[in-house]
Symmetry: C2
Subunit: 416 residues, 2 copies
């Protein structure tokens, strides 16, 4: 296994830390934001764009690639790196979250941002995502789930073909071996905040059993990360951190609160990170909001993946820094669809140095968005990803300079 995590510096008065992860496809700096190439493509971008943005690592989704084009095809090409033309480090998830999306995610009306794969590219309003508002619990939906869990794994219906598909720890490891990523994840079951303690405990036992099975079946050339689950229950999260932390994983993922509040997320970090071996990296699964990044880094997380920057971009929501008016209230975003930008000559963020901001005005981007021009999606995604990657660079610099808490206070407008 070509995998090394080197901690370069620890933060002052925080759990934040600066590190470098080295794989056989090169290194990346932590804390790292990892752009998501769901189906072997960062949506609307090509990998040359990503290199130009300074991204060092990408995450692809096992579930999507298993269904289309299939891991066997990708393996014939020598794996994901060669198939999609990205020679840097690659992470794959285990398929567990997508299976949750198809299962209780449907029944409990939860998706990280309230949508499901392949639902098309129509711009929607914030109000379409009620579950995205803090402290508002999702409600049970009348839609029927189409994934079913048993002790051995999860069976679900492929929404595109209607065929039954089975995922187990062994199958997930086999798929991820064929895909050939540098860092892979154990197969787990996500739970929702609507699950009671009995179900969550039951599910956690499965996740722990599956963690051991994943360890047994994974390709030893890859670095396998275990996943800590346990819903919003302190005792279960602690139990999970101890159990998973005690297994010989290369690093640890922590399942997010999935529909829970920001406070729920902070609790999860407080309960789990102190119980994990601190010489190994911690990956927050599916986390990518500005405020969350600050809080998670402060509490000791090293890696983040999230499709939100490109998803928001496609829906017209473009990130702005505090200098340009970004706050926790507006979630550091403007909605380019707003008529007030019709004649706005400024770039999205006047302080941004991304290729989009250097070349185009808000008025032009709004025109492209309104006219549904395909070019909009790429220009907007370039900006939002640049914003995230740049934020992480600033954040790493602040750890290096012992100014992390100051940077956080500026961004989140809070007193230190």
């Amino acid at each position: 296994m070509a995998f090394n995590f080197k901690i370069i510096k620890r933060g002052k008065n925080t759990q934040a830390r600066l590190g470098v992860i080295t794989t056989s496809h090169g290194s990346f700096h932590t804390p790292a934001f990892i752009p998501v190439a769901t189906a072997a493509s960062i949506r609307a971008l090509d990998f040359n764009d990503l290199k130009n943005l300074g991204a060092e690592v990408v995450l692809a989704n096992t579930y999507h690639l298993h269904l289309r084009p299939g891991e066997k095809l990708i393996n014939k090409f020598g794996g994901l790196h060669k198939f999609m033309g990205w020679d840097g480090p690659i992470v794959t998830d285990s398929g567990g979250f997508q299976v949750f999306s198809l299962g209780f995610g449907v029944e409990h009306n939860i998706g990280k941002m309230g949508w499901f794969p392949n639902e098309g590219e129509r711009a929607r309003k914030d109000s379409d995502f009620p579950q995205n508002k803090d402290n508002q619990k999702p409600e049970i939906s009348r839609e029927k789930k189409f994934a079913h869990v048993d002790g051995n794994g999860v069976s679900f219906i492929d929404p595109m073909t209607g065929k039954k598909v089975l995922l187990t720890p062994k199958i997930s490891m086999q798929i991820q071996s064929d895909l050939g990523a540098d860092i892979i994840f154990a197969f787990d079951e996500c739970t929702s905040p609507l699950h009671d303690e009995v179900y969550t405990k039951d599910s956690l036992e499965r996740t722990h059993r599956w963690a051991k099975e994943s360890l047994k079946h994974y390709n030893k050339k890859q670095a396998l990360f275990g996943i800590v689950q346990g819903g919003l229950f302190k005792n279960l999260r602690q139990e999970s951190a101890k159990f998973i932390g005690g297994l010989p994983f290369a690093g640890f993922g922590i399942g997010g609160p999935l529909g829970g509040s920001k406070k729920d997320m902070e609790n999860i970090l407080d309960w789990t990170i102190p119980l994990l071996p601190r010489n190994k990296p911690v990956h927050m699964l599916g986390i990518g909001a500005v405020e969350d990044l600050f809080n998670c880094v402060e509490k000791g997380a090293d890696m983040f993946d999230c499709a939100a920057p490109t998803k928001w971009a496609r829906r017209g929501h473009l990130y702005i820094s505090p200098q340009a008016g970004g706050t926790r209230i507006n979630k550091f975003r403007i909605n380019i669809d707003n008529a007030k930008f019709r004649e706005d000559r400024k770039p999205i963020d006047p302080y941004c140095q991304c290729p989009t901001c250097r070349a185009y005005s808000r008025a032009y981007l709004r025109h492209l968005f309104t006219a549904k021009e395909i070019s909009y999606f790429r220009l907007a995604s370039i900006h939002n990803l640049h914003f995230m990657l740049e934020l992480m660079r600033e954040l790493r610099e602040s750890i290096s300079n012992n100014s992390f808490l100051k940077l956080k206070s500026v961004w989140l407008s809070i007193k230190i």
Copy 2:
């Protein structure tokens, strides 16, 4: 008026010629293929892509920009160059063709490729475009046209707002002045092959009257091209070439056969070009098929614009050169949707040096196309535009080397 057309070399045994057109925004070489930025964007690309492809000039559509975002907004930004971020030469059409699309184009079931603006981005099969097959006349459709012509101009219903819009020569000149392109076109009426001689003659009289009105009202800082029409009638085309050729235009557009055959197009060129002043450039409106480019250049045309390369790209049809198996029969295209490309490691065209062919396999592009990944549209459009621009470079070189007919014989597999 900053406009100059310099003929550098005339072809041997053909009417082909090599030239340079100079505007206040720089020069471009002729024969030139001009990519179409319909709504101030080359669909799926940004202008940086276009520069990297070596494009020297672009064409934008007056009709689309008038409706959205409106020429007044663009003018506030200092015109199209500044609004869309392209500092090279720009051409705008007059709106005549789009008005035809909404009018008799609907009734006669004709669009250049059988579709209409903003109909979405779904891939379609060749068989969806029966009128695209040679020598097959379009049939009268039961759909009602929504543009109406009278002596003064054309009124039509904006399909997006339902509001009535009026275009006249004076209004078209005013819009094109606000847009601020380097080369603009006189307002004309297109006719279809289903129009009889009586209607076509009537229409031609309007087009001629509108040509004189366009000359009266245009912004004298721009270079105005007149348009030769006359349907498929030799006498009318000749009359039009003489009339339009006798007016003080900077160059001439020739309306294509619009649903007619390749033979119809060759006839039109034979009837008109010899009657036009040969010291001025000739622009073939909406022409962009490989075979047509060879025939039109041979007969003396200098400029071509067509949205086909990017439209075909979006629908999965990717150009290949003769070395890679491109012929008149397959129209120099492969359909990337075809299952035979599922495991194909070759680039689209192994002899192509475009960024897409240098980085990606047919299998990967087919995966992106099948998965409806937005990135596909850009990668495919880059290839198809590169192909067209490269073909024009080869074509210009062949005129320079006196090998045009040889090049044509290789591409079209015909004996010299």
